[in-house]
């Protein structure tokens, strides 16, 4: 068994204080059903907790859900901490209530993709399947 055939490992997380977990859980289920190894963090995670878990669990990517309006701060903080730990090969993507006008700056900061309300689950699964492996 070579590393390349091992399933992708994805951390799916709720960063920040909001408790809206309907979308994030459906995405975690869809990725798991698509054969990936999904680590779901549970709610109310700080950026530090997200990054520590991602490194400990040796994931390929981090998918974050933010519906509180704090996306500009929280995504940037996660990216910053990943860089500080030398783990910026881990892809960061996300979704939630994120106005279109905030998207270019977040992508510029290093967020690979942002999925808004109404995105089909299959689109997200396809995106994740095509990700490069960090391990």
């Amino acid at each position: 068994m070579t590393v390349a055939t091992a399933p992708l490992r994805i951390l799916i997380g709720k960063v920040g204080l909001d408790g809206h977990d309907r979308g994030v859980k459906l995405i975690a289920r869809a990725l798991r059903d698509a054969g990936m190894e999904v680590i779901y963090t549970g709610l109310h995670q700080s950026p530090e907790q997200i990054v520590n878990t991602a490194i400990q669990e040796d994931v390929d990517a981090i998918g974050l859900s933010v519906l509180s309006g704090a996306h500009n701060t929280l995504f940037r903080r996660v990216l910053e901490l990943l860089r500080a730990q030398g783990a910026d090969d881990i892809v960061v993507f996300g979704g939630g209530i994120i106005p279109n006008e905030d998207v270019p700056a977040l992508k510029g900061a290093g967020v690979k993709a942002l999925f808004g309300p109404g995105t089909p689950l299959d689109d997200i699964v396809r995106f994740v399947k095509e990700l490069p492996r960090s391990r």
């Binding site: 920040g16 204080l17 909001d18 408790g19 809206h20 977990d21 309907r22 859980k25 459906l26 975690a28 289920r29 798991r32 999904v38 779901y40 549970g42 709610l43 109310h44 700080s46 519906l67 509180s68 309006g69 704090a70 500009n72 701060t73 929280l74 903080r77 209530i97 106005p99 279109n100 006008e101 808004g116 309300p117 109404g118 089909p120 689950l121 299959d122």
Partner: protein, 534 residues
């Protein structure tokens, strides 16, 4: 034969109930209007809790609002009151909802973002500047720290010389649905229930016109529940609070007339109307059977309704105005006592002033132009609506039996039961949309390639810096000994099982902050981590 052909092999309600081609007398075989309907204002209240309903008084138009600093939200309150709204409803930001101060490291980036930031008594004073607390009713959507925020509201009233018995409003204070759906808790379920009961007891004693709890299905539905699950879990939560208050020594008539409910109104028009009717009947029957109250008001289910945020789409946002109108009409035909209509831009951000005004105008058009408020329960006696009402009531009772068998709601929550039921329903619904078995206009049909952007509300990051600076100033200038003494007295009272409200009011008057008080309560009551259900 061709004229018998139908568009689909099977028609189902949004909650998955199979819907027949036609409803008639055979669907209401054992049904009698005397037993199942009664007159409006009479048991079992299916047709409404008041004899005249909207002929006597229209529903209260209550738009939920809050963003930025207390001053920002205060301006929005004045704006809404000037445009004909008659009740206030406060949305707090995430740090406040989680019992954290604006300067807490966990609050970074969240201050004032999805509600107003309230950390201190001074913030509360600014929030209600120029608003006569004895003339408006105020609803506050706060749960984990509900007792703390309520203590601040009472302290503001006291400063202004307004007696507590002239205060009207509602505290959401429904912690069970936090564990089930909204997920903003501070303490474990049992100690949280005790805080809820303390607020109920305090209001029964001292704030008689206040609704100490708003037992909420709204968030349960938003998390993905069906109409049946929303109805069942919400009413069962209600029965759990009644039981807790009775166990704490209150008689049911002492507090039950002050209980209130809060429902979602989703897209399935008739199912939603039936849900409101079934809720009133089931609540009246269950409370009568379990507690035999003497005061008929103890049996009346009063409710607020809000159109379904989760039904709105980021695509073609103007379409949301139409969705909201249909949902609002269902709430009115269902007999709600107050209503919030969502704004079209809420899948993108908090609403702009213009969007909120349009949402309020939607209600005014229904109330004053459509003539739907001319008669009570206009759909009563419809074979379809009565059959659906029966069906929803029956399915909710089946959930009641399951929950009873599990040892009650707290035990069910600890086993992840309602959480799993809701997640499974959300999953089914999402799959139905993706397979195009259900249409969402603009999302899976009638998609536009180019979306026209609409203006959205921006929150100034300066709000966070200002709140942090104000708190730092407060901590320097208040009397630290007085504050610490009041917090210690609070902890002692809680540990001894005394009612939390009086020492809390003293502590907020001594300038203890929301974060400090919640941290102090956690030391006594503990913290909670949920069983993760996937």
């Amino acid at each position: 034969m061709n004229e018998m052909k139908e568009r689909k092999p099977r028609f189902t309600s949004l909650s998955g109930i199979e819907i027949h081609r036609l409803y008639g007398p055979s669907d209401l075989k054992d049904w009698t209007p005397e037993r199942e309907l009664g007159a409006p204002g009479e048991f079992p209240y299916t047709r409404g809790i008041y004899p005249t309903m909207y002929r006597g008084r229209l529903w209260t138009m209550r738009q939920f609002a809050g963003f930025g600093s207390a001053e920002d939200t205060n301006r929005r309150f004045h704006y809404l009151l000037e445009h004909g709204q008659n009740g206030l409803s406060v949305a707090f930001d995430m740090p406040t909802l989680m019992g954290l101060d604006a300067d807490d490291p966990l609050a970074r980036g969240e201050v004032g973002r999805c509600g107003v930031s309230i950390s201190s008594l001074a913030d509360m004073e600014r929030l209600f500047e120029g608003i006569p607390l004895d003339q408006v009713t105020t609803s506050m959507t706060i749960n984990g720290p509900a007792a703390v925020i309520f203590a601040m509201y009472l302290a503001v009233a006291e400063e202004r010389g307004i007696p507590f018995d002239r205060l009207g409003g509602t505290l959401q204070n429904d912690i069970l649905k936090e564990y089930i759906a909204q997920k903003e808790w501070l303490f474990p379920p049992e100690p949280s229930l005790r805080l809820v009961t303390d607020v109920i007891a305090y209001c029964a004693q001292s704030v008689p016109k206040w609704h100490p709890i708003s037992i909420s299905g709204y968030h349960i539905r938003e998390a993905g529940a069906t109409a049946v699950q929303e109805l069942a879990f919400t009413l069962y939560d209600g029965l759990t609070y009644v039981e807790a208050a009775v166990k704490a020594g209150l008689t049911v008539d002492r507090f039950a007339p002050q209980l209130s409910f809060f429902f979602n109104v989703h897209n399935d028009f008739f199912e939603e109307i039936a849900k409101f009717r079934a809720a009133r009947r089931l609540w009246a029957r269950e409370v009568a059977r379990r507690y035999q109250p003497k005061d008929p008001r103890s049996l009346q289910l009063r409710c607020h309704a809000q159109t379904a945020g989760c039904s709105l789409t980021a695509q073609q946002p103007l379409n949301n105005v139409v969705r909201t109108t249909v949902q609002a009409l269902a709430a009115v035909l269902g007999g709600t006592q107050s209503l919030h209509t969502n704004s079209m831009d809420e899948t993108l951000a908090l609403p702009t002033e213009e969007a909120v005004r349009l949402a309020l105008r939607t209600q005014q058009i229904l109330a004053e132009e459509s003539e739907v408020a001319n008669t009570v329960d206009p759909l009563g006696g419809s074979y379809y609506v009565e059959a659906l009402t029966n069906r929803l009531e029956g399915e909710a009772q089946a959930y009641f039996r399951k929950l009873d068998a599990m040892g009650g709601m707290v035990a069910a929550i600890e086993q992840g039961f309602p959480q799993r039921e809701i997640l499974d329903a959300a999953h089914r619904y999402q799959r139905e949309i993706e397979r195009k078995e259900r249409t969402i206009v603009g999302v899976n049909r009638y998609v536009e390639r180019e979306e026209q952007p609409i203006p959205i509300l921006k929150i100034d990051p300066e709000v966070e810096r200002m709140q942090v600076a104000r708190l730092s100033e407060l901590r320097k200038t208040r009397d630290p000994f007085k504050m610490a003494g009041a917090v210690a007295a609070l902890q002692e009272a809680v540990a001894c099982g005394e009612n939390v409200m009086t020492p809390l009011i003293e502590a907020v008057k001594a300038q203890a902050t929301v974060g400090e008080l919640c941290a102090a309560l956690k030391e006594v009551l503990g913290t909670y981590r949920e069983p993760v259900v996937l």
